[in-house]
Amino acid sequence: MTGNIPLEYFLILSTIMFFTGIFGFLTRRNLITMLMSIELILNSVNINFVAFNHFLYPNNLQGHFFTLIIIAVAAAEAAVAIAIIINIYRNFKSIEVDKVNQMKY
């Protein structure tokens, strides 16, 4: 069903997605959008794993399981992160990342 799409296309796709996520992480002020950027990064990595598994090592399912576990970790991370963000919002009345720099020095 994949036709003749080469592996590199998937990799290029995931690379661009990865750096888009990083860009978002570096420029967004809102903590939730930063979290979304992290989800993008994780997702791009997932694509990589799946593509490698499919194209290079079809004889086992390592990439597949890696992706599964990453999804689980992402879910856990999102839950904890959102809990923290809500706590921050309660304390600072803001979820701007610039406001949360009390722990410097």
Partner: protein, 638 residues
């Protein structure tokens, strides 16, 4: 331990009292501090007399030499295999004699101060410092080695500094204390260098080893020379410079008159009887060494002593501050002692000068403390130091008058008071060795009688002065010490010093040399007579003489401009051409380097501080950029 173990208590009791009063003195009434201090000194005095009696008489086998006993000694610092600094107690004739002098005078001063300092602010502090001084001075005379002596030497310097500056709210007292400290410190530099040279050559600090007849110094006599004098002579001359600074010898005497800013009992104790004779004691302590290996240094000692005594005696004739007159008189008398040491030989009758010097030290301590305490009593009742504001006081202060007269007669050398005997021996010794110095001293004896009786007549006779309130005799606590010291001044001349304190420990025959004694008494009587004529009644004669002497009188009145000379040398030359460039170098180059290091680190830290901004995105940016840079470096460039 041995029979003299209790001598360890002699310095330690004042130390204990010092700590006690110093630490807890503010908790109870001041008079209690005074009583504690006096009681401590009483014990010390009793112990000192016990030591003296058993050392000189009961424990001594007649006809044998007095040996020096090392009663106690601990290793304190191991410098090298051979060179250790010890702390201990050494008993020999001069140290035992000094014990008696110090404890007696100090005890009298303690009693006297109970009255004199009554109601003063800092009464407890005063007694604490007095105890500290007693401790230091006793430790100094009991030192077993030259380094221990140096330690206590500095300690007496500190005590002297503290006591001169006792009225620390008075600027003149503060500057006087600083002056005393700096000048003596400067002289102590010489002392220290001398000690180092001496110990370098002989590998020992110990007095007993140094002055023994097989002293390690003897092997260096033919050693290296510098400017024609052997290294040993230089070392001993430097040691003497330390002693000259402490003993206010010309030209390091400038601090002593100013030191009179301290309370009068302090002047009596420190600047008349004990600390200022430490220089004499130092030379006497090392005397065998001086006479064995460095007779040239002794010549220097003799001349410095002679010049100082003449110089001070002339100035004393022109001063009006009674304490300053006494201060110059002290300097003059110490000059006598130094001269006596300088002209003395070693052993037997040749050691006449040595004996005379110590004898004079003893009698001088008695009569000069007496004079100072008497001056204190006068000041106490008149509230002035200036003899021009005094006169006719003999009616108001009978006891003070009588004791002061005894003191003046003693210092003038009128027989049979003690001053006569000791001064006679000094003159005899000088005549023996050096006629020029004898002539100086003979002259000084007359001047001494003159200026002392100038003081006496001015204060107790002379014009009848109107006082704001009638002067009254001092309380008993002040007059009893006067009487005790007067007793000492009268009778200490009968002590057989020629049997007790001699250069080699053996007694020798001493007799009054009439060819010296009679002229010296005559010149003293002449001095007294002149003073009587000039000052017995208010007259214009002194003025006329002063104006006829012209420049000489003015010079003497201004202490021969020594202070101005010092100021010129220090301010105009040393400060400007040495200290200022050095200070500039220190401030700008040395400190500048350090400050630059500190400053640049501080600035760098401030710059780096920004990196830790607490901004997650900044961290992320640096991280990603760094990763990219690493990829570029390691994958594409490498």
């Amino acid at each position: 331990m041995n029979a003299y173990s209790y001598t360890l208590l002699i310095p330690l009791i004042p130390l204990f009292v010092f700590l006690l009063i110093g630490l807890t003195g503010h908790k109870y009434k001041p008079s209690i501090s005074g009583l504690i201090g006096t009681a401590g000194l009483l014990v010390v005095t009793v112990l000192s007399y016990m030591t003296a009696i058993s050392y000189f008489w009961t424990d001594h086998i007649a006809g044998t030499a007095y040996t020096s006993l090392k009663v106690f000694e601990i290793d304190w610092l191991h410098l090298t295999e051979f060179l250790t600094i010890n702390l201990g107690i050494l008993l020999d004739p001069i140290s035992v004699m000094m014990l008696v002098v110090i404890s007696t005078v100090s005890f009298m001063v303690h009693i006297y101060s109970l009255g004199y300092m009554k109601g003063e602010k800092g009464f407890a502090r005063f007694y604490a410092f007095l105890s500290l001084f007693s401790f230091s001075m006793l430790g100094l005379v009991l030192a077993t080695n030259i380094f221990q002596m140096y330690i206590f030497w500095e300690l007496v310097g500190v005590s002297s500094y503290l006591l001169i500056g006792f009225y620390y709210t008075k600027p003149s007292a503060v500057s006087a204390s600083k002056k005393a400290f700096i000048v003596t410190r400067f002289a102590d530099l010489g002392f220290l260098i001398g000690i180092l040279m001496l110990s370098f050559m002989t590998n020992t600090f110990d007095f007993q080893t140094l002055v023994s007849s097989d002293s390690p110094a003897l092997s260096h006599m033919g050693g290296a020379t510098f400017l024609g004098l052997s290294t040993l002579t230089w070392a001993l001359t430097l040691v003497f410079i330390g002693g000259a600074g402490k003993s206010a010898m010309f030209p390091l005497h400038i601090w002593l008159p100013d030191a009179m800013e301290g309370p009068t009992p302090v002047s009596a104790l420190i600047h008349a009887a004990t600390m200022v004779v430490a220089g004499v004691y130092l030379v006497a302590r090392l005397f065998p060494l001086y006479s064995m290996v460095a007779p040239d240094a002794l010549v220097i000692v003799a001349w410095v002593g002679g010049i100082s005594s003449l110089f001070a005696a002339i100035i004393a004739c022109t001063q009006y501050d009674i304490k300053r007159v006494l201060a110059y008189s002290t300097m003059s008398q110490i000059g006598y002692m130094m001269l006596a040491l300088g002209v003395s030989g070693y052993g037997g009758h040749d050691g006449l000068g040595f004996m005379a010097s110590n004898w004079h030290l003893f009698t001088h301590a008695m009569f000069k403390a007496l004079l100072f305490l008497g001056a204190g009593a006068i000041i106490h009742s008149v509230h002035s130091n200036d003899m021009r504001e005094m006169g006719n006081l003999r009616k108001y202060l009978p006891i003070t008058h009588l004791t002061f007269l005894i003191g003046c007669l003693t210092i003038a050398g009128i027989p049979p008071l003690s001053g006569f005997f000791s001064k006679d021996e000094i003159l005899a010794a000088a005549l023996h060795a050096n006629p020029a110095l004898f002539a100086i001293e003979y002259l000084v004896a007359g001047i001494t009688a003159f200026y002392m009786f100038r003081l006496y007549f001015n204060v107790f006779w002379g014009k009848s002065t109107h006082y704001h309130h009638t002067p009254h005799e001092s309380p008993l606590v002040m007059t009893i010490p006067l009487m005790v010291l007067a007793f000492g001044a009268v009778f200490s001349g009968f002590l057989p010093f020629n049997e007790l304190v001699t250069s080699d420990g053996l007694p020798f025959e001493a007799h009054i040399n009439y060819s010296v004694a009679i002229p010296s008494v005559l010149i003293a009587a002449f001095g007294i007579l002149v003073a009587y004529m000039m000052y017995r009644k208010e007259s214009l004669v002194p003025e006329k003489i002063a104006t006829s002497l012209g420049a000489f009188y003015r010079g003497a009145y201004h202490k021969f401009y020594m202070d101005e000379l010092y100021l010129f040398v220090t301010h105009k030359i040393i400060f400007r051409y040495i200290s200022q460039p050095v200070a500039w170098f220190d401030r700008n180059i040395v400190d500048g380097t350090m400050n630059l290091i500190g400053y640049s680190i501080e600035k760098a830290s401030y710059m780096i501080k920004g990196f830790q901004s607490g901004r997650v995105q900044q961290y992320g940016y640096v991280f990603v950029t760094g990763a990219v840079a690493l990829v570029i470096i390691f994958v594409f460039i490498w």
